[in-house]
Amino acid sequence: MKPGGAISIWFFIGISLLVNGLLIFGAGIYELFHPPLVPVVLFHLHASVWWGGILALLGAGYCYYFAPGKGRV
């Protein structure tokens, strides 16, 4: 039996990572073209872009693998 019912907890986590990752990635892309007046330290590394991308990819993977109906815990 799944711990919780029809939807796995890992699916919820996938949703969270995907949405947050896309928002952060989008904000990072926006800053690439509109740099802030007072940038954060190490702004040139564009952490928002790659960290947001990593989170979104990870989240998409979790959403796919633990999608409801696939029977995975």
Binding site: I9, N20, A47
Partner: protein, 586 residues
């Protein structure tokens, strides 16, 4: 400023953008959605209080760790790393890993086989009603205090970082926790704790990564700390980057402690007391679906616990190395919270130790990342509070209400009581948060509470599990003597600070060191009284101890599973890494 935003304070560290606010709001929506989704699966006592005892090892293990990973843990220990240096990592390694492995391999079989609902419930089976009453009342008292402390810590960060009014932060977050725990019970708390665990890592992991890039790696970080502390004429600056080499003498390290206090006070009594008998964390493991999962869960928790210093201790050290006043360019020195958060302190722009993590967050994180980092702190707070509240509801319902007030309560009535207790626990916690605002140091206060109740409880439970001669009278009087002596020692030092040199073996002992030694002495007193009283009183017959005591309990063997599925194999792996980390940072 409009009336609608009157709770905002002009003295804020960062300003959130729209995308940050969307991330924070999305988090609140998701945790509430999980609570409503799971509402239909919390109809019986087993469902509401024990999550149906069907959690996998991974879910139980991550919830086990997440319940401990409150905002207090994140900010308080980052602040302690700034204050005491890498010595603070002892609370994650020797102060956690051996205890978690002890829980997994030695104690979990007894908890699991006797099917208790709580740690006080085990005491009832092993020692009788009086021990259970003492443990459950003290636990209920401690857990709501802890919850209030967590709440206060979170609200302080919201005020410092975002300028949010402290009262608004307390009420919004605590009402959210109350809703999702009251709806879905322990299952909802556990699901959200796993989600919060992932968000904490996603939100906090960038700080040490970017910090090490800026500092020039670990060697660059050490060099900067040494240089900065030398410039400020701090005694023994090398002690801030070494775990053990300065613990031979009380006066050679910033904590004023020696290795005896760390190994026996922290590593044995406080750590083992917390990780093996504090029902807040043990409840998550009791929800595991079978014995193997119950044993694996603390080991999975231990593996991740060893990595937590990367997102907690390292940012504190990075603060020591990198933080500078943005106006003058000189080194920024953080100060005790009471000073920083006083009217005078705020007017001077001072920052408290516990602000180091938000300061580092603001240093590296732009729009989006900042929202995720703030979400991580809020998630930490909410997971800690949900843990406290769900444990409080269980102990109150089964060990106080069901045992002392209404022994005939039906299962349905207990579930109803559990939901009301969740709301009551939140209400008491809110009241506690307002009391805690008067405390000088958040973490020191919590450590004092731990040593009041946790260290003696560990001695009692361990003797109960491993020594069949321990009697009900021995268990009760040992627990009472241990708790009473701990409170007595604490009060003695408050009345006459000079006695620290006797209780903590050194006049240099700081607050944390005093707590370690108090835990050591009260644990030994508890064990000594338990043994002495047991030897002169009548033990329970063996038949009544089956399933509760070593030697009288049939523990299932695991020969039929491969070595990679055996808890003991992974416990050895975690143990080896633990030893290696201590040697590397010696």
């Amino acid at each position: 400023m409009t009336a609608a935003f009157a709770f905002l304070d002009a003295h804020r560290l960062v300003h959130l953008s729209t995308v940050d606010l969307v991330i924070i709001v999305f988090y609140f929506v998701l945790v509430l959605a999980i609570g409503f989704y799971l509402k239909g699966r919390a109809n019986t006592g087993e469902d509401f209080f024990m999550a149906g005892r069907e959690m996998t090892a991974w879910v139980a293990g991550l919830a086990f760790l997440s319940a401990n990973l409150g905002s207090l843990e994140l900010m308080g220990w980052a602040g302690n790393a700034y204050k005491y240096g890498i010595l603070a990592a002892h609370w994650y390694w020797i102060g956690a890993i051996p205890a978690m492995l002890l829980l997994a391999l030695v104690m979990m079989p007894f908890y699991h086989i006797c099917k208790t609902h709580s740690v006080p419930g085990y005491l009832k089976l092993r020692f009788g009603e009086s021990s259970r009453t003492l443990a459950s009342v003290s636990f209920a008292f401690m857990t709501v205090l802890m919850s209030g402390i967590n709440m206060y810590a979170m609200a302080v960060v919201m005020r410092v970082v975002l300028g949010w009014d402290i009262h608004v932060s307390i009420w919004i977050s605590s009402v959210t926790v109350a809703i999702y725990v009251a709806l879905g019970g322990l299952r909802s708390a556990i699901f959200n704790e796993v989600l919060q665990f992932v968000l904490i890592w996603a939100g906090a992991l960038l700080i040490p990564i970017l910090g090490l890039v800026e500092a020039g790696g670990w060697s660059g970080l050490k060099a900067r700390i040494l240089q900065n502390l030398t410039e400020q004429h701090v005694a023994n600056p090398a002690a801030y980057t070494h775990l053990w080499s300065t613990l031979g003498d009380f006066s050679k390290n910033p904590m004023g402690i020696n290795w005896i206090g760390i190994v026996f006070g922290l590593g044995v009594f406080i750590s083992m007391g917390y990780w093996t008998t504090d029902f807040l964390v043990v409840q998550r493991v009791l929800a595991a679906k079978d014995l193997r999962s119950a044993k694996l869960a603390p080991i999975i928790g231990a593996a991740f616990k060893m990595m937590v210093p990367f997102i907690v201790i390292l940012p504190g050290l990075l603060g020591l190395a990198l933080l500078r006043d943005p106006h003058t360019g000189s080194l920024l020195r953080l100060v005790p919270g009471d000073l920083a958060w006083s009217e005078a302190g705020r007017a001077q722009g001072l920052h408290g130790f516990d602000e180091v993590l938000p300061l580092m967050l603001a240093r590296y994180c732009g729009p989006g990342l900042l929202g995720l980092g703030i979400t991580a702190l809020i998630a930490g707070f909410m997971s800690g509070m949900a843990g406290n509240v769900s444990a409080f509801a269980t102990v109150w319902t089964y060990d106080i209400y069901g045992a002392l007030i209404n022994k005939q309560a039906s299962d349905g009535l207990k579930v109803k009581m559990g939901r009301w207790c969740t709301l009551l626990g939140v209400a008491i916690s809110i009241g506690t948060a307002y009391l805690v605002m008067q405390s000088q140091s958040i973490m020191d206060y919590v450590q004092a509470l731990f040593s009041f109740f946790i260290a003696p409880l560990f001695a009692t439970v361990l003797l109960g599990m491993l020594w069949k001669r321990a009697t009900p009278a021995g268990g009760f009087w040992g627990l009472l003597a241990g708790t009473g002596s701990s409170v007595g020692m604490w009060a003695w030092v408050k009345v006459n600070p000079d006695v620290v040199k006797y209780l903590a073996l050194s006049p240099h002992a700081q607050e944390q060191a005093q707590n370690m030694f108090r835990a050591l002495w009260c644990g030994l007193i508890c064990a000594g009284v338990t043994v002495m009283v047991s030897l002169v009183t009548k033990p329970k017959p063996d038949a009544e101890l089956t399933g509760l005591v070593y030697g009288l309990t049939a523990i299932p063997h695991e020969e039929h599973v491969s070595i990679f599925h055996r808890p003991v194999f992974w416990a050895v792996v975690v143990g080896v890494v633990f030893v290696a980390l201590n040697i590397i940072f010696w």
